[in-house]
Symmetry: C2
C-alpha cells in the first residue's frame, strides 16, 4: 500500500509558514516551524540550512513582488520612487518581519537585484559611490519606517486632556483620514528625492 | 518568622523585564513575564491591566531618555533635530520593540509630551495642523527606520559575484565604516528638515 500522501515540502512553503509565524508572534523557531508544516525538524534541514537561510527566504518573498522599472527610459527619481512604493506596499503587510530582516545581512539574490537597480539608477545620475550608499540607506530607512506607520492603528496617538493645542489641532486635522499614511509616505519620499537631487548640484 | 523577602514588584520593574524579553525574542507573554519576575500572573495584574499597558510602559521607558529642548530659545529645526537624535539613540538599542510599539495607539504621557514639543515647535514656525501631522509622521518614520539600520550588522549587504558594479562600488566605499549609520541618519534628517522648511515657503 502507498504511504499516506503528504504536502510536498519546498523552500517556498517553508518561507510562507515562517512568515505566518512572524506575522503572528514576531519571530519563529525551527520546532514551531516544523510543527506548523507537520514535518520533523530533520525534514526542514533537507531544504534549508537553518534560521539565517529561512530569514533570507522570507526577505526574498517580500521583495519578489517588486517589479523593476525600465532603467533606460526612466529618470533616476522615477526608478527610485517606483521601487520604493512597491517596497513600502510589500513590507506594510508584514511589519513584524522588518526588525528581523534588518538584523541579518542581505544575501538573497532577489533582494540584491533590487539594490542593484537602485545603485545603477543613482550612478547614472552622477551620485558617487559613497553618496549612492547613503542615498540607498536613507530611502531604505524611510520606506521601512513608513511601512510600520502604514501598519499602525488608525488612531496612532490618543489625545488626552493634557495634550498641547498645537498637537491636538494636528491630530484633529487628519489622523483618522483614509490614505493618511500613504499620502504622508509619498510626501516624505518626494522631499527626500528632491533633497538628494540638490545634493548633487 | 518573617516570610522570605521578595524584590518589590513595580511598573518600572515590569517594563524592564518585558523589554528584556522583547529584546531577546521580539515579543512577550504575560506568563513569560511573570516567570521572569518570579511572581504569579495575578501579582502582575495588581500593577498593570494587561498587555497594552505594559507596551505603553516600555514605550515610556524608551522615551524617558529624551530631554526636551528649550522651545523658547531654539529654531524649530534645532528642536526637532535634538529630539530626533535622542529618539534615534534610544530606539536603536531596542530595535525589536519598534514594530510592537508602532502597532499600538500611543497613550503614554511621557511620549505624548515629546510629540507636544514637536507640534509646538512646528506650529510656532508656521506649519498648519495637517502639515504638522505630516511632518511629525515623516520624521517619526525616518527615525525608526534609521534606528533599525543602526542595529543592523556591520555588513548590511553581502556583495555576491553577480552584483552590479554600481552597487559593489557603493558597498566598498563605506558599508563597513565606523559611524556609517549615524552619519547617514544625520544627512537624511538634514534633507528632511530642509525640505519641510521649503514646503513652508
Amino acid at each position: 500500500m502507498a504511504r499516506p500522501s503528504q504536502p510536498k515540502l519546498s523552500t517556498d512553503a517553508i518561507a510562507k509558514a515562517a512568515l505566518k509565524l512572524v506575522d503572528a508572534h514576531g519571530d519563529f523557531t525551527l520546532p514551531q516551524l516544523a510543527k506548523a508544516l507537520s514535518v520533523s525538524a530533520s525534514s526542514l534541514y533537507n531544504h534549508v540550512q537553518g534560521r539565517d537561510e529561512i530569514i533570507e527566504l522570507m526577505r526574498g518573498q517580500a521583495m519578489s513582488a517588486i517589479k523593476l522599472p525600465d532603467l533606460e527610459n526612466s529618470s533616476w527619481q522615477d526608478t527610485v520612487q517606483g521601487i520604493a512604493i512597491e517596497y513600502w506596499a510589500s513590507y506594510s503587510k508584514h511589519p513584524r518581519l522588518i526588525p528581523l530582516m534588518t538584523s541579518y545581512t542581505v544575501r538573497n539574490s532577489t533582494t540584491l537585484r533590487v539594490y542593484d537597480a537602485l545603485a545603477e539608477a543613482l550612478a547614472a545620475a552622477g551620485f558617487e559611490p559613497k553618496q549612492r550608499l547613503q542615498a540607498i540607506t536613507i530611502i531604505d530607512s524611510f520606506v521601512l519606517g513608513s511601512a510600520l506607520d502604514a501598519a499602525a492603528p488608525s488612531e496612532v496617538w490618543v489625545a488626552d486632556t493634557e495634550v498641547s493645542t498645537a498637537f491636538r489641532q494636528a491630530l484633529d486635522s487628519g489622523q483618522d483620514v483614509q490614505d493618511r499614511s500613504v499620502e504622508t509616505f509619498r510626501l516624505g519620499l518626494d522631499i527626500i528625492l528632491d533633497g538628494l537631487q540638490s545634493s548633487l548640484a
